[in-house]
Amino acid sequence: MAAKENLIVESKGSGQPFNYAVGMHGSRFFKELRENRKLLGIKCPKCGKVYVPPRRVCGECFAEMTVFVEVGPKGVIGTFTILRYAFIDPETGEQKPVPYGYGFIRFDGADTLFQHYISIEDESKIKIGARVEPVFSEERKGNVKDILYFKVIDGE
């Protein structure tokens, strides 16, 4: 009997290029990050909640937000994970080296959590509630990777 063959059509490497608008709130956030290493949130005029990253609408109040406030740069770990499976980096198509830390950070002065990498040099220090600070990239381009990662601050 002849060996079975599977007839499959592959999409190969064809992509769907997009130009995503960062928006005026995002532009201001990334400009401050790139030029001044500062992190901006935005405050709801109704409930007073401070959102990071800044955006136009408070979903809780259905209200437009216009007042930018500086937050952090220090904060605490809200929750975290350590990735141990190989993930294909959507930006490069390459497998990202594992393990690496991932977490939600609550910046001082903010009410929401901001997700980013956490350095896991000493895994025993990675805990919910641990104080962290960002390590900025020397060559900042105005995107989320202008922060390289967050690291746990000793003695705080």
């Binding site: 999409s11 997009f18 929750t79 975290f80 994970t81 990735l83 141990r84 993930f87 989320v144």
Partner: protein, 380 residues
């Protein structure tokens, strides 16, 4: 509510890779099973809702690609992008409008045809989140950690969900992963993303489900056994996960409260006989039943240890084996509805919950349970 009923269900076998079938082939199978179950023909179907996701299907307007297999030609067909429970909600609304007497609802996906982590990564915000590589597994690991921190739920209790559901799946011939495993097996399985081991996660799956909903006189015209829809509600939370109280599912609490209220259920814990919930990960089964008020706050893990959620327990949860034993995205929630229908008709075979009269089915759409749809069903 006592006007509408589910009068037919059809589920394909859930498999890791249905290499012989296109997704329209799966829809054809599920639709014909549902028509046969309802003792109807396609001519008895007044309108159609298909449910799919363009990224999973690898094409835009994917819902229209299954129109022919759904018998939608020359009919009013509309689409829902999301979980099948939400497609069924739309289908129900259409029969309740009075414009249609019957709706056929389908939901399908083939996880085998793509790279799941890239598909779920694409659900995240392209400006702030996507470049960091977040996907469904890592996001849910973050949520699992927060849930464990708040409730004191242990890795062993989470592992017991996996043991229970894979064990239940042994009695479900449509299940992908029936397994005899121990808590130790789960804890020793590969750590994917702390605190989630491989056996805390549902598999990548292919499958389809079809459900027929009828209104008024049409519920009893064809000879099938109607299961009554007593209460349905859905509710959504914020898009950014960081905006939510991540260790709780407040949207589910609200959806469940509204669905139970519509069904005139005042004490869900004593009035619900069986539940099928969206257990994409072990911790989610515990978190969801707690959020629905089917467990005291933070005690779901302890109740599980006592055997409350076993097929013969106080409140059997996922007697079919749940999504941990086979997880076709999009179809996942609609399968939960179909499984409750089988339970309430006494047709669940080896995983039948004795004397089940009232059941709850639950579906999730969005990352880490952004929105939830809850269905309360009762036997005829």
């Amino acid at each position: 509510m006592d006007k509408a009923a589910v009068i037919g269900v059809g589920i394909t076998k859930i498999e890791a890779n249905k290499i012989k079938e296109t997704f329209a082939d799966m829809v054809w199978e599920a639709v014909n099973k549902a028509l046969s179950d309802a003792k109807m023909t396609i001519d008895d179907i007044d309108n159609v809702i298909t449910t799919s996701n363009d990224f999973w299907d690898g094409r835009t307007i994917s819902c229209m690609a299954v129109g022919d297999a759904s018998g939608a030609r020359h009919k009013n067909v509309s689409c829902v992008e999301g979980d099948g429970t939400f497609g069924a909600f739309y289908g129900l609304a259409r029969v309740l409008s009075g414009s249609y007497g019957t709706t056929l609802v389908t939901a399908h996906s083939k996880g085998s045809e793509s790279v799941s982590s890239l598909i779920t990564n694409a659900a995240f915000d392209p400006i702030y989140d996507r470049a960091l590589g977040m996907d469904m597994v890592s996001a849910c690991a973050l949520q699992a950690r927060a849930y464990m921190h708040r409730t004191g739920t242990t890795p062993e209790q989470m592992a017991m969900v996996s043991v229970k559901n894979h064990g239940n799946a042994k009695y479900n011939p449509l299940s992908q992963l029936p397994m005899d495993i121990t808590v130790q097996d789960v804890l020793e399985s590969e750590m994917i993303s702390d605190p989630l081991h491989k056996l805390d996660c549902s598999p990548v799956s292919d499958g389809c489900c079809a459900v027929i909903i009828a209104n008024g006189k049409r519920t009893s015209r064809y000879g099938g056994v109607p299961v009554w829809i007593k209460g349905v509600a859905f509710c959504a939370d914020s898009y950014f996960i960081g905006d939510r109280e991540i260790s709780k599912a407040v949207a589910l609490t609200k959806a469940a409260k509204n669905a139970f209220s519509m069904a005139q259920i005042t004490d869900p814990l004593s009035e619900i006989d069986v539940a099928e919930v969206y257990d994409a990960f072990t911790y989610q089964e515990l978190m969801w039943i707690e959020a629905m008020g089917l467990s005291e706050g933070g005690k779901a893990g302890i109740n599980l240890e006592k055997g409350h959620y076993d097929i013969k327990g106080r409140l059997p949860v996922n007697p079919s084996g749940g999504l941990l034993s086979g997880h076709p995205v999009i179809a996942g929630g609609l399968i939960r509805i179909a499984e409750i229908v089988k339970q309430l008709r006494g047709e669940a075979g080896g995983y039948q919950v004795a004397g089940a009269r009232t059941g709850v089915a639950h579906g999730v759409n969005g990352l880490c349970g952004q929105s939830h749809c809850v269905w309360v069903l009762t036997a005829s």
